[in-house]
Structure formats: C-alpha cells, structure tokens
C-alpha cells in the first residue's frame, strides 16, 4: 500500500479512529496491529523476516541486559571479597559474553539482509570473474529472492537498539509488544527515518490525547510531503528517466537539465515521503527524528551529508565510523604509518580508513550494484580531498579578495555543493558505471541545442514544466522562510480564517496540480528500493 494512494487514506482514517477510540493504555496495540496489517498487506508471508528480526533482537537484548544485571548483582554482593584484578577479569568475561550475544544476533540479522540483498550481486561478479580470467561459462545460478519491504531500515533500527544496549546506554525493553512496535511502526518502515530507541519510545508507546492541533499539524506536514512528491518528484520523473535512457542522442543541455531536475526529484520524493511519515506519526502523537534540514543550502559536501538523510548518516557515524576510528587495528595501522611513512599521514590514517569503510558501506546500502559503490567511494574521495584542500581554498579566496563570511563566497559554495551532489547522483539514475560516465560526458557536447518542443517530447510539456518549476520555487521559498523557524508553527499562531485559507490552498494545489491517477505513471518512493 503506497503512501500516495486512496487506500492509504482510508487505512489512516480507520487507524486514527481506532487509536483514539480505545483506552489510552491499549493505544500502542492499535499501532502494532496497524503496523503488522500494513506490512502483511504489502508483503504477505515475508512478514516472517520482520518477526525473526524482532524476536531475535528482543531476545538478545534481554540476554545482554540480564548479563549486565548479573554482573552488577555479583559485584555488589562480592564487593569486599574481590580484588581489583578479579573484578576486572570478571567484568571482562561478562563483556565477552555480552559481545558474543551481540555479534551472533547482528550476524544473523545482517546476514539475512546481506544474503537477500547481495547474494545475487556476488554470484554475478563471481561469474564475471570466472569468465574473464578463466574463460569459464558454467555460471552459478541466481537465487530467486524477494527483498522484504523496508528490511534495510528496520534491521538498522533494531541493530542500533542492540548496540546501544551493549554499550549500556539504556535498559532493554521487556514488553515484547512494545518492542515489536518499535521495529515495525508502519509510517517509518518504508523509508525511515531510522529511529533511536530512547527518543522514539518516549512518544511511541504512550497513549496520546486526541488533540485537534496535533492532527492539523500532522496533516499539514503530510500535505506538504505530498506537494513535494506529486508536484515535483513524480512530475519530472518521466523527463529525467527518458533523458538519461536516451542521453546518447541528446544535447548536453537536456542532460544537464535532467541531472539538476533529478536532484529536485529525489529530494521531493525522499523528503516528501519523510514529511508524510513524520506527519502521519504526529497525528498519532508520535514524534519522529528529523531526517532533512534544507540540504540544498549546504556549503560543503560534508555539511550536505549532515543535512540529508540525517538518521542514516548518524547511524553510520555512531555505529561504524566512531567504533572503527578507535578500533585497535585502525589505531595500529595509524601507528605503523606514523613510524614508517609520515607523522602527518599516520595521524589521519584511522580517520580516512574509517571514512572509506563508511562510504563503501553507504554505497552498498543503497543497492547491490557497482554504480552505488562507486557513488559511495566518490563521496569519500570528494570529502577527503576537500578536507585536505581546505587551507588552500582559504588562500585562494583571499587572493581573489572574497571575504570569508561574505555572500559571494556563501552563494558560490551553495551552488558548487548542489552541482557536485547533482553530478554524483548520475550514478544513482544511470544503468551502470559506464553509463553514468557516458551521461556525464554527454553534458559537455552539443550544448546549444535546447528547446521546449524536445523537452515536451521527453516527458515534460510546457504546462507541466511550468508547474514543476513553480513547485520548485515554492519549495525554495519555504526553505528560505524556514530559516526563521517552523512555518507550520507560524501558521498555527494565525487567526482561524488564515489557517483555513492556508490549508485550503495547500490541499487544493495538491489535488489539482499533483501528478497522480490515470494519465500519470504511479511511482513508488525511490528510497523504498534501498
């Protein structure tokens, strides 16, 4: 069931009515039933994967928690009898036990994810390797695999819970139903945001009062999400897809236009979807983590990644980057480099090695294809190069008499970052790495040919193009206004007629100008595939 369907609207009405109709202490149960119904409607028997992840992480969490409590109780009762060394040894053995539980559970869950997502990718590459280097044509067969909806998102969320538990950040959730809801909460299972247990559980399990303000607030956010999804993302999708598919026959201007439009498409699609998720959750009184913070206003690629898909970025930072950068083997590698190569380089080795692994994994997370891996590694390369060149940039700006805090520098940095990120996304829309390179090359030839007739032929007739550009300008305007705080908050402070007019304008604009229904291709959310 897509978020952008009348079926989902009906589903939401039923869920909201049921949620606020039952006594407060059972409201989490309504959400749990709704979440599993949503999942079963979409994936049928594949719900078993979700149940396995829920059950194993729940069990492992309790186990880790029990070991921690055992340790605490033992140390308390034997406080006088144990020496410092004995205490240390005991703690170490208990930590080892916890680690074993953690690793086994993570191996199982990431193993399932890896197998479902990457098994065929590995087989394809092994087949290719054998053919290239040994001339073998007896290929290994592929598995007939179905990737369960949102598996990357719920696995990451559940794994994050377990890792934090291992580090003693909080106690395990003892209530299975509530934990199952944390893993399966239906608004976020499709494309995140990846929630953290302490923050999400604060509002997820509690039965909330039915507040008109919450409902309206949530509804505004849902409509704004639909605005971005239906007026921008789905409208330009045909043009982008057709242009990239036939880029070899097109002039550079069409390709460049498609590349920039794709940035708007994926932003409209993903941040629109997240707005719907946050808005829907808000209607139930549940607060979700922020996943976007006006990323196109970023002045550097590093800043961009702090403002785009924030929850995935922090997940990688907290659970891969930090542990790796202080891991024994990376520190030893840094030490070795300092001794044998250079002090300066040696200091940076643990950071860059961790960054490399993080971006390799991020690429792989986006899809089991080389183009995603290359995309991830290019991000790493740009981040590393820009970090190293930072001092030279400052010198360059000084030479050109451009002030460090001046507007020119700021605008230039924003445009530069947007352009870099747009070009990196070519790997996202192209069929392969070779194709992506060909698309980028295509931008630089026959640039003068650009007319509205051809744009219409490629899927964006003049009226549709105007509507898309109007929507992009609206998003830009709203983003500029957001610098001074939430627009929804400001609207909610207005008098009733103003509030109604704002709501009516938004709803009518989405209904009339949205790309949906017969005549438009229904498009799934792009991040659904990740």
């Amino acid at each position: 069931m897509s978020f952008v369907s009348f079926g989902f609207v009906f589903f939401m009405i039923v869920c909201l009515a049921a949620y606020y109709a039952v006594p407060k202490k059972y409201r989490y149960l309504v959400l749990l039933v709704a979440s599993y119904s949503f999942y079963i409607l979409a994936m049928r028997r594949y719900v078993l994967y979700l149940i396995v992840t829920t059950a194993t992480v729940y069990g492992a969490g309790l186990w880790i928690d029990r070991i921690a409590k055992q340790q605490k109780a033992y140390l308390k009762s034997n406080k006088q009898d144990l020496s410092k060394e004995e205490k240390k040894a005991y703690k170490s053995s208990m930590k080892k036990r916890q680690k074993t539980v953690l690793v086994l559970c993570l191996l199982l869950n990431f193993g399932v994810l890896a197998f479902l997502k990457y098994a065929n990718f590995v087989i394809a590459n092994v087949n290719l390797f054998r053919l290239r280097f040994f001339g073998r044509t007896d290929y290994f067969g592929f598995f007939d695999l179905v990737l369960p909806l949102g598996i990357s998102f719920y696995t990451f969320q559940a794994a994050g819970y377990l890792i934090d538990l291992y580090f003693g950040k909080y106690e395990a959730e003892r209530h299975f139903g509530k934990f199952a809801l944390f893993v399966s909460f239906f608004p976020q299972i499709i494309q995140g945001p990846i929630g953290r247990f302490p923050e999400l559980s604060e509002t997820l399990f509690e039965g909330h009062d039915c507040e008109f303000r919450q409902l309206v607030y949530g509804f505004y956010q849902v409509m704004w999400g639909l605005f971005k999804k239906l007026l921008i993302a789905d409208r330009v999708a045909s043009y982008v897809g057709n242009t990239i598919a036939s880029h070899r026959e097109l002039g550079g201007a069409y390709i460049l236009f498609a590349i920039f439009l794709y940035s708007m498409q994926i932003y409209g699609d993903f941040s629109g979807g997240i707005d719907i998720t946050i808005g829907v959750s808000r209607m139930f009184g549940v607060r979700m983590a922020k996943n976007f913070d006006r990323p196109f206003f970023s002045k550097s690629v590093a800043e961009y990644w702090r403002r785009w898909h924030i929850t995935l970025g922090t997940w990688f930072k907290d659970y891969i980057f930090y542990p790796l950068s202080i891991a024994k083997w990376t520190l030893n590698l840094g030490k070795w480099t300092r001794t044998h190569i250079s002090e300066t380089i040696g200091k940076k080795v643990p950071i860059y090695v961790s960054m490399f692994i993080v971006w390799f994994t991020t690429g792989l997370w986006h899809g089991a294809e080389w183009r995603y891996i290359v995309w991830g590694l290019l991000n790493f390369l740009i981040l590393a190069v820009s970090t190293e060149l930072e001092p030279y940039y400052d010198r360059g700006y000084a030479l050109l008499h451009i002030r460090q805090d001046g507007k020119i520098r700021k605008y230039w940095q924003v445009i530069r970052t947007f352009t870099i990120m747009s070009f990196l996304r070519v790997f996202d829309i192209s069929a392969s790495v070779g194709d992506a390179c060909s698309v980028i090359r295509g931008v630089f030839h026959n640039f003068s040919d650009f007319n509205s007739g051809k744009i219409a032929e490629l899927g964006l007739p003049p009226e549709e193009l105007r509507a898309a550009l109007f929507a992009c300008l609206a998003v830009l305007g709203v983003s500029l206004l957001q610098r001074k705080g939430s627009i929804r908050d400001r609207i909610m402070e207005q008098k009733l007629p103003v509030r109604w007019v704002c709501m009516a304008v938004l709803v009518i604009t989405v209904i009339i100008f949205g790309s949906y229904g017969i005549g438009y291709d229904a498009r799934d959310f792009i991040y659904l595939q990740f």
């Binding site: 009518i508 009339i512 100008f513 229904g517 017969i518």
Partner: protein, 354 residues
C-alpha cells in the same frame, strides 16, 4: 466557547464540501459540444413527467430511438437510458436507479452488448455512463461491476481526483457550464445527420463460440427478476444494424431465453424492409448507428410494435405532461430542421436520392 468551536468547525466542513463540489463540477468534462452521449445519464434526472417506456442499451439505442418522435406519433412518453458501449450490468443498475422515480408501463433492453463480459471494460465509456449518475447504492454497485483494475472507486464519487489533470485545458466553458449545463439530448436521443462517404459491409467471420459471457447472462437474469418483482413488462430487443458481429446463434439463444422467462425478444434486423431502412442513407457509419432519418423510420415502426403490444397511450388525466412534451417537440423540431439542411447537403454531395 465550546459551541462557538463546534459552529466554526461545522462551517469549515460545509465550506470544504462546497469547495469539493465546485471542483468536481469545474473539472468534470462537460460533454456539451463533443461527446454529448456523456450527458445522457445526468439529464435523465431532469425529467419531470411520468414515463411510459424506458429504453436501455448502448450507442445503437441512443441513436435509434427518438422519444419525441414516439410522443408525436403515439403519444407515449419515454426516455433512452443508453450510453456508448453500455454493458448489461450498467443497464441493470441504471434501471434500478430509474425505478426509484418512475413506474414505466414497459421496459425495453437492447441486447447488442450481451456478447461482452467482464473483459469489456473501457474507462471512457464507464465515465460517460457513471459520472452523471446520482449518489446511491445502485451507483456504488454499478461502479464495482464496471471498474477495471487501474481505476479507483473514489474517483467516481469525487471526479476531480480523476480529471484534475484537465487544469491545463480548462476553458471558460468549464466554469460557465459548472453551474448549469443545457439539455443536449432529446430524452436520451442524440440526433446525428451525417452519411458516410461510402458503405462497406464486411462478411461475418465464424467464431469459436457463440455463447454469451456468464456475467452478461447473470445481469440479464437480474434485469428480468427486477422487472418481474416490479411487475413491469420487459422486452428484449436488438436495434436494426448491418454489423457483421451479430449471429443467428445469438438470436436463437435469446429467443430460447425469452421463452423460458415468458417475455419477448425481437430482433428488428428482421423488419428492416418493413420499416424502410436503407443502409446507404440511414446510417452515420457502416451500418451500426442510425442517423435521424433512419432513427425516425425505426422509431415509428417501434411505436407501432409497442402500441400493438400495450395499447394506445393517453395522458388526458394530466395535461401538464402534454404541456411539457409540447415544449420538447418544439425544441426537437427546430433542431431537426436545422440538422436536415446538413443532411440534404450531404445527400447532394454524395449524389444520393432521399
């Protein structure tokens, strides 16, 4: 304070309802200048007089039976509830819907679309038949029976969700006719005056099977049951055509069915000579749809058949009916006179005799 809130909230809901209704009206195609058959279903609800006969069927019916001509010649009041490619299930639900306001003396259903089952679904035809239908359970059931998998039920109740993409092509007419659309049919009859440049009738190809689909049979049963329950005589018919996709086996099956049900089945193809039907001058296309000249010939013949079956019609007890119908006659004759000029021009152009 609480009451004030409730009042404001209710007022808001009313405003939303009005806004949605206005959007529906603005965005729905108006079917005034083109595709006038899209108005047939909606115009039925404007009929203020009691109706003696109700006709159901597809485009072959709305082009073939002129209720005004029937009134002029036989004094009976009637309405054609037919739409382009109207299926048996649509005829059934439109009949169910019509019987809420009318108690006709006779119901006649055309069988041309009996040969199409569930595989015959076309959005444009569904829209023409259903968009004008008033909100009711019949409408809901009819939508369920008619929709193809790509369609959404809600778009039939709120057409703006289907036609919102017309924002690019809205004209002044869309706003003008949003408030009121003029009558474009003549009690469901659509006048046509064209004659094709040439007439080619292809031979009938043998078919693998001559069985009607189960879904069509099922709804024909329901039509019979409904008429039986309401004690309204039912006649199954086929309008006169020269189409090559109607077979003797179909006639045999329907004749047998009619006998079992104790009703009549008449294929007016059998009486084309008696009614003076001419392929060359009486059709707007290659023998499927009658033009006005062909329609009036058929209507007069049909009227004779009906009167022979039910007896004379008279509305002496209700002079109001005649008054209303006289107005219909004036409008009909005026438009007919205008249209006949075009018809005669076409005859001359094609060197045909009339």
């Amino acid at each position: 304070m609480k009451w004030k809130r409730i009042l404001i909230f209710t007022a808001g809901l009313v405003v939303i309802a009005v806004a949605v209704a206005a959007l529906n009206r603005i965005f729905i195609p108006k079917y005034v200048d083109n595709n006038q058959d899209g108005r047939v279903t909606a115009e039925f609800y404007r009929e203020k007089t009691e109706l003696d006969i109700l006709f159901f069927g597809s485009s072959t019916v709305y082009n073939a039976i002129s209720p005004v001509c029937l009134y002029e010649n036989y004094g009976c009041t009637s309405y054609v509830r037919a739409n382009a490619s109207q299926t048996l299930w649509q005829s059934y639900y439109l009949l169910e819907d019509a019987l809420r306001d009318h108690r006709p003396k006779l119901v006649m259903v055309d069988m041309s679309f009996m040969k199409y089952g569930g595989e015959f679904v076309e959005e444009a035809s569904n829209r023409k038949a259903l968009d004008g239908m008033r909100f009711s359970k019949s409408k809901y059931d009819c939508i369920r029976a008619s929709m193809w998998e790509g369609e959404q039920m809600i778009t039939y109740f709120f057409p703006v969700f289907r036609f919102h993409s017309r924002w690019k092509e809205l004209t002044k007419d869309d706003f003008y006719y949003a408030a009121r659309v003029p009558d474009v049919t003549y009690n469901g009859f659509i006048m046509q005056f064209d004659i094709p440049d040439e007439q080619v009738i292809y031979d009938r190809e043998p078919r693998e099977t001559y069985d009607f689909p189960e879904k069509a049979w099922n709804y024909l049963d329901r039509i019979c049951e409904l008429c039986n329950r309401e004690e309204i005589p039912l006649v199954l018919m086929k309008t006169p055509t020269y189409v090559n996709n109607w077979y003797d086996e179909y006639d045999d099956a329907l004749t047998e069915y009619a006998q079992e049900q104790g009703i009549e089945y008449v294929n007016f193809d059998w009486y084309k000579d008696e009614m003076g039907n001419e392929l060359r001058t009486d059709y707007v296309d290659s023998g499927s749809h009658l033009n006005l000249v062909g329609a009036e010939k058929f209507t007069k013949y049909l009227g004779n058949y009906i009167v022979g079956r039910t007896g004379e019609f008279s509305h002496e007890k209700n002079a109001e009916i005649d008054k209303i119908w006289e107005k219909k006659v004036i409008r009909y004759e005026k438009d007919k006179t205008e249209g006949m000029k075009e018809y005669e021009r076409r005859l001359q152009e094609l060197s045909l005799d009339f």
